[in-house]
Amino acid sequence: MTDFIKDPVILMPERHPEPVFSTEELVFTAEETRQIATWVSQYPTADGAIMKVLWMAQEKFGFLPPEVIRLSAGALGMPYARAFGVATFYTQYFKSKKGRYVLDVCTCFSCQICGGYDMLHYLEEKLGAHAGETTDDGLFTIQEVECLGACGSAPMLQITNGPYVMNLTEEKIDALIDALKRDQLPFFSSVTLPQDEDDLGGNRRTDVRDTLTYSAPPVAKTLG
């Protein structure tokens, strides 16, 4: 993002890229097709289910090259161009191959003043890859993202469009990377705000495995 502000150049995407997947690979299984039919029945028109189908395709193929978007559009009988517009609109749909874990570090306003960039730079140094890049072993992709809506627990990061890791510290990042290398994905943890804890007598959520109590956020190194 920062590079873009300095040098705001948008490059031309490749018009006719070589397909990544073969035609034999590009199929939805019978079960997936049934699932799609269920989703379609939940919307007024079949087009409505495109986001769910793309999501499923991303989980199946890992990312969404054009031929997978075409497959998803075809499954709903909607124009490929329209599905492509949807897929490119959302950053959570990966249009290129990513590492096994995508670490989205928030550097938006709240996280930034609480050390979001400190965490990002620590992670970059630790993994030897810059934001937007994938480590050589193909395990991790680091991304710098805008607000993920967890400002109360800043700084934070998100793992592959999934669980949040909040109240980040360098030690927490070390532990997280070790766990991910062992393929242990952290669980979603619920955080309450202090006033709620006073009123409610602590975090009373029972539907999550981990609950965290509120802690005063840190201050970014450059500010402290």
Binding site: I5, P13, H16, R70, P79, A81, G85
Partner: protein, 572 residues
């Protein structure tokens, strides 16, 4: 009748009009970019913001509340609304930029936003001079910009397809082009990709924008983002004159403008006619203008040798005089106008020869049921209505080979290229040919060749396959003087740009040709046949009064929209 008040002026309305369209229809200019009457209104350019209020209704009585003066109390929406997405309702009060400072400021600010990343390359942009963004920024925009950072650079000169070039920087994301491919042509080849400042229209990977109507997006693009690959950098809009006319590539007779510079047709754009082509024009109709510019004849010839018009007409008359009427075959033409075909028919009957027939040019399967037809001629229906029948090619071929035909008179067609006969077969036949291009393969066999004016040089009437009679105006000048053409040129020049730079009377590129309605009466005169008319206007007066298949098709009645003729169906 329900009423709406726009800028303190009351209008009556019927039905459920869209506010923006209603304003435009009543000569109230509301700036806008994304709205197009033929397509859905996404209201995403935000340029047509107006203040809208509706009468306050007392919930108890269901009647409008009245103020102390007895006028209904108007409650305005807290924010300005887009005129393109708002239906007019009874009692509505609208304030446009003409009466509201708020609206003026909104228009100004909105344009400042639209121009933030818009490049300032108007001097090299094809759209300049005819650009809604340029015009509206000038009329309603701010005097400068407060944006002091580097503008975003986006991909430029991308060939989206074989005919359309994209300059993504200039795009303001009005989505007219993507809505055209979604709602009108339904090719679904374009979409807006990416998000925020990254987005612009694009084909998805592996797809080319090659549909047969792709060039329409160039006309509806309100900026210079989509330009024609063919026309790019050829001429500025103020250097050309545009003349209302019709296209002749097929039997739909789509309405168009011919844009002329230096007496050469530079481009063809659609002209709105809701009865024929609405707002659109297929690509093939836009790109076949080379026939007007290239391979044009340089004056008449007698046996291949250049001759004066007088000599050529005399030679033609002599040929006609010295042949028995039974040996003369007249070929009318579905490429020529009704007037020329009518005169040819009159000439044939005065000579006692058989009535003319015309060569059909039908490509089965070429049509699409919309603006592209199987029939590749503009006036087959006009010929039919004159009683000119399709030619029996086999019969004519055998008659020519059997030596029955002594003289072949061809109006604007090419029997050799059409496969009726070989040029060698015509060795023993005298041929009089009105030809428009030197590529005409019958030309080598012509004893007298009389260059004919094409649709851009003549005045005439064409009838499309649906029976819509439309007249054309001369778009460019020919060599030599013709009073009718000069007058019609003057009338046709709805010069929107009002500058003296077009090279209308430049001596270059003037084609030495004459319309059929000049040449045929003069030949008839030499044969002592009475076939004098004051001009094509008089011919159509006579045709429309005598022939009920042309009832009402006078020049005054046709004007620019044309006249829908009665369906004579089985009679023709």
């Amino acid at each position: 009748m329900p009423t709406v008040t726009i800028d303190n002026q009351e209008f009556e309305f019927e039905g459920n009009p869209i506010l923006l369209q209603f304003c435009l229809d009543h000569d109230i200019e509301l700036p806008h970019f994304c709205y197009h009457p033929a397509m859905s209104a996404p209201a995403n350019c935000r340029q047509c913001l107006v203040e809208i209020g509706t009468p306050e209704i007392d919930r108890g009585t269901g009647e409008p509340r009245l103020d102390e003066d007895g006028n209904p109390v108007i409650r305005f929406f807290p924010k300005m609304m887009t005129g393109c997405s708002e239906d007019i309702s009874d009692g509505m009060v609208v304030k446009t930029h003409r009466s509201s400072e708020l609206v003026r400021e909104a228009q100004k600010d909105n344009l400042e936003f639209l121009l933030i990343n818009h490049p300032l390359d108007c001097p090299i942009c094809d759209q300049a001079g005819n650009c809604p963004l340029q015009i509206q920024a000038y009329k309603y925009g701010p005097e400068g910009s407060r944006f002091e950072f580097r503008k975003v650079s986006k991909p430029k000169h991308i060939e989206l397809g074989p005919r359309v070039v994209l300059d993504a920087e200039r795009c303001i994301n009005c989505t007219r082009c993507t809505r055209f491919t979604t709602e009108i042509s339904e090719s679904h080849q374009l979409t807006i990709i990416e998000r925020s400042v990254w987005n612009y229209p694009m084909t998805p990977p592996g797809v080319d924008f090659d549909e047969p109507y792709s060039m329409n997006v160039i006309d509806i693009c309100p900026v210079g983002a989509l330009t024609s690959k063919d026309f790019r950098f050829k001429a500025r809009v103020w250097e050309m004159s545009s003349t209302p006319s019709i296209t002749i590539g097929n039997a739909k007779g789509s309405n168009c403008f011919y844009w002329v510079k230096d007496n050469l047709v530079q481009k063809v754009t659609p002209r709105t006619n809701m009865e024929v082509n609405e707002y659109w024009l297929p690509d093939e109709d836009r790109l076949d203008y080379d026939v007007f510019n290239e391979n044009r004849p340089e004056g008449p010839t007698i046996a291949g040798q250049s001759a004066s018009w007088d000599d050529a007409k005399t030679a033609a008359a002599d040929l006609l005089k010295n042949v028995d009427a039974n040996g003369i075959v007249f070929l009318g033409s579905a490429f020529a106008c009704v007037e020329d075909n009518y005169l040819l028919g009159e000439l044939a009957s005065a000579l006692g020869a058989a009535a003319p027939s015309y060569i059909q040019h039908i490509e089965p399967g070429a049509g699409d049921g919309w603006l592209i037809t199987d029939d590749k001629t503009p006036n087959a229906s006009g010929c039919e209505r004159l009683g000119i029948r399709p030619l029996d090619a086999t019969l004519l071929r055998s008659r020519i080979q059997g030596g029955d035909v002594k003289l072949l008179y061809v109006l604007q067609d090419d029997p050799v290229a059409a496969g009726i006969c070989e040029a060698a077969d015509l060795a023993g036949v005298s041929v009089i040919l009105h030809h428009t291009n030197t590529t005409n393969e019958t030309l080598v066999a012509a004893n007298v060749a009389l260059p004919a004016a094409t649709v851009v040089e003549t005045v005439g009437t064409f009838v499309n396959q649906d029976g819509h009679a439309q007249r054309v105006w001369p778009s460019k000048a020919i060599r030599g003087v013709n009073r009718t053409l000069s007058m019609e040129i003057g009338k046709s020049r709805a010069d929107k740009h009002g500058t003296p730079f077009d090279r209308w009377f430049d001596e270059d590129h003037l084609v030495d040709c004459q319309p059929g309605w000049v040449v045929i009466p003069e030949i008839a005169d030499l044969l002592d046949i009475e076939l004098r008319f004051k001009g094509p206007r008089d011919i159509m007066l006579k045709v429309s009064s005598e022939n009920e298949a042309f009832g009402g098709a006078t020049y005054d009645a046709m004007a620019e929209p044309g006249v829908r003729l009665v369906d004579v169906g089985a009679e023709v």
